[in-house]
């Protein structure tokens, strides 16, 4: 056995081990603490969990490729809100009045295009100005949110289209529409990152940008495409979610970036880039949703969820450091 095998295996499997621990803990604790008679590991409950993971999960897939690329996107929550407004508002525009239910694909397309363009704009700025992605998307987070508020002030934007609601609430092979979109997004981004040149370039650039440039990779357009992808996925997350709910508040999507980044980091993606994969991210998304649901199941309130998730994030970091330090010489300070 080569040195480091244990730590690698531990790290790649850690998120799934953690999920199993969560399941056991909440099942056992639920027997004593839960107010409901239903078991935590109820099949319907698990299916609901997958559906509820979708909004964060779909965005997290895009965040994985952006972070592997060595960048970060803090503006996804605001992009999410803008796409939701475009979706719901465009269905009431007079020019689409004659379309009947055909307005739905048009509205979806509009929202997705807007999300993609907002993401691409971030990417273009990062590429052309050389300003750090953290700063660019921090600014965009404020700017895009400003656009959201300018649209309708503090008022919610609402429009219910029952055909659309039926579609969003439909189930196919036992899985809800949102769950299918989450699985599809996971599969597509997995394919892109593991099987295509674009994906391999993402790892190369995140690992060592200088070397990637010297190897002839066009770093700028590459990063812009990844920002467009995360913009698209933020919009996709919004259209899937708001097709069902039909009403968006201007504050919706706030702090999504933090939840998404937490899921991605729990899933093993390095914040400095070059390492990570969407399967791990999927695990991170599920782990967080399990924690929220599980703590609710045993009667804890949202405050405990925040507390526990924050502490787990820090604990993962400490653990990761301990595992990585084995066999490495440390600079004595």
């Amino acid at each position: 056995m080569k040195p480091g095998t244990v730590s690698t295996a531990l790290k790649s499997g850690a998120i799934w081990g953690f999920i199993i621990l969560e399941l056991i803990f909440f099942s056992v604790a639920g027997e004593f603490l839960s107010l409901s008679d239903k078991a935590f590991m109820d099949w319907d409950n698990m299916l609901l969990l997958l559906k509820q993971s979708a909004p964060i999960g779909i965005i997290a897939m895009g965040m994985t490729i952006v972070m592997v690329n060595g960048n970060i996107d803090l503006s996804v929550g605001a992009t999410f809100a803008i796409a939701a407004i475009v979706l719901l508002d465009s269905m009431t525009w007079p020019i689409f009045a004659g379309l009947g239910d055909w307005v739905i694909p048009v509205a979806w397309l509009l929202a997705l295009v807007v999300g993609t363009l907002l993401g691409a704009l971030n990417g273009l700025i990062v590429w052309k100005t050389g300003v750090d992605a953290f700063i660019v998307t921090l600014g965009a987070m404020l700017g895009y949110r400003g656009i959201v508020f300018m649209f309708n002030g503090e008022q919610p934007t609402s429009h219910l289209n029952w055909t659309l609601v039926d579609f969003a609430e439909a189930e196919f092979l036992g899985l809800a529409t949102a769950s299918w979109f989450l699985l599809a997004a996971t599969f597509v981004i997995w394919f892109v990152m593991a099987k295509t040149v674009h994906g391999r370039n993402a790892y190369a650039i995140g690992d060592n940008r200088e070397a990637a440039v010297n190897a002839g990779i066009r770093v700028g357009p590459h990063m812009m495409i990844n920002f467009a992808i995360i913009g698209f996925l933020a919009a996709l997350s919004a259209v899937v979610f708001y097709s069902e709910s039909g009403s968006v508040n201007p504050n919706d999507g706030q702090l999504y970036e933090l939840w998404v980044i937490t899921a991605v980091v729990l899933g093993g993606t390095k914040i400095t880039g070059g390492a990570g994969n969407v399967i791990g991210t999927f695990g991170g998304v599920i782990a967080i949703q399990l924690l929220r649901k599980g703590l609710g199941h045993i009667g804890a309130d949202t405050s405990t969820v925040n507390l526990v998730i924050g502490l787990i994030l820090v604990a993962v970091l400490v653990l990761d450091r301990q595992l990585n330090m084995k066999g490495k010489e440390e600079l004595k300070v």
């Binding site: 404020l142 700028g220 980091v265 400095t272 925040n306 924050g310 820090v314």
Partner: protein, 324 residues
């Protein structure tokens, strides 16, 4: 000749660009609305910027040392809630030091994790953002916190009082800025902060205690947060659990606007003060010329990116990035 002029303009922009932009803003808004530069308006802008400003002063230390602090917003909610709660339980004279001690303990925890364990500050403080928010909600039980006797307490002096004809929040902001400015520019600790942020490895080899310096920066940040929480609590004498939510990013925006590099090693207290004032005056100026409140977010977006872009463009001597 033309080249030299362009270089000179470039270096002038790089060094004083933010100050020039600030003055240009003031002139522009004053022309648009003469009320803008009246003493009353200026005082009210600085006063409402004071809470954000005090926090930004502490975060400046953290950023110069090469780290980030995303937890200041929820930490500020925490100290506000704690001091309001303890005010009625043990009286203001004891509540204030108790709140400072509790906030400093949180700062020490973050400082330990980032400084001594060398964990990534972005993720640690992201986790602490969530954890401290949970802690605050647990502490308050999710309820708003109010002081029972709002008229009869001297506690309101920090947020509402005046001295020497100036509001106390402004005086506190100025005092903290002066103190931290002296520490950063005139003491050996200040030089260590720059050294650690500029090149951590080199600093270590020069015998600078890197871990302890980073730890101290987070303690300073926590002290500033506690001060901001004190002003906030005293101003409103009641508070929601989410009073500081989202402030961490506005604070960071102010620090970056002031020209501190996220890579560490650069930035000054004076520039951060300018960054804070720019944010405050833009917000106020846009309202005075009749624009919606939300326009400031969009303007801030453009200004942050332009400020950082011009800064690095001047340093590399080219406007566009060399990325292929």
């Amino acid at each position: 000749m033309a080249d030299i002029t362009r270089q000179q303009i470039g270096s002038l922009l790089a060094k004083q660009g933010i100050l020039i932009a600030f003055v240009a803003f003031l002139i522009g808004f004053t022309i648009a609305n003469p009320k803008f530069l009246t003493p009353d308006n200026v005082l009210s802008v600085i006063r409402s910027s004071a809470i954000l400003g005090v926090m930004a002063l502490g975060v400046t230390f953290v950023v110069i040392s090469g780290n980030l602090d995303l937890s200041v917003g929820s930490m500020m909610s925490f100290s506000t809630i704690v001091v309001l709660d303890l005010h009625d339980k043990i009286g203001p004279a004891l509540a204030i030091p108790a709140m400072f001690a509790m906030t400093l303990a949180l700062g020490a925890l973050i400082g330990f994790l980032v400084g001594y364990l060398k964990l990534n500050s972005l993720i640690v403080t992201l986790g602490m953002l969530s954890a401290i928010h949970g802690l605050t909600l647990t502490y308050s039980g999710g309820k708003n916190m109010d002081i029972a006797d709002k008229e009869g307490t001297w506690f309101s002096v920090f947020g509402q009082g005046t001295a020497l004809g100036l509001p106390i929040p402004i005086l506190m902001f100025v005092a903290v800025a002066a103190l931290l400015g002296l520490i950063l520019s005139r003491t050996s600790f200040g030089r260590k902060v720059y050294a650690v942020g500029g090149n951590g490895t080199a600093a270590t080899f020069s015998g600078i205690p890197r871990a302890r310096t980073v730890f101290m920066c987070y303690l300073i940040s926590a002290t500033c947060v506690a001060t901001a929480g004190l002003i906030q609590a005293s101003r409103s004498l009641g508070s929601q659990n989410t009073v500081g939510q989202g402030l961490e990013l506005e604070v960071l925006a102010a620090v970056i606007l002031g020209g501190a590099s996220l890579l560490g090693g650069s930035g000054t207290i004076f520039k951060t003060v300018i960054g804070v004032l720019i944010l405050g005056f833009i917000q106020n100026g846009l309202l005075l010329i009749g624009l919606q409140f939300y326009v400031q977010f969009i303007v801030t977006w453009v200004i942050i990116i332009l400020a950082v872009w011009l800064d690095i463009a001047a340093k590399r001597g080219k406007l566009m990035s060399p990325i292929a």
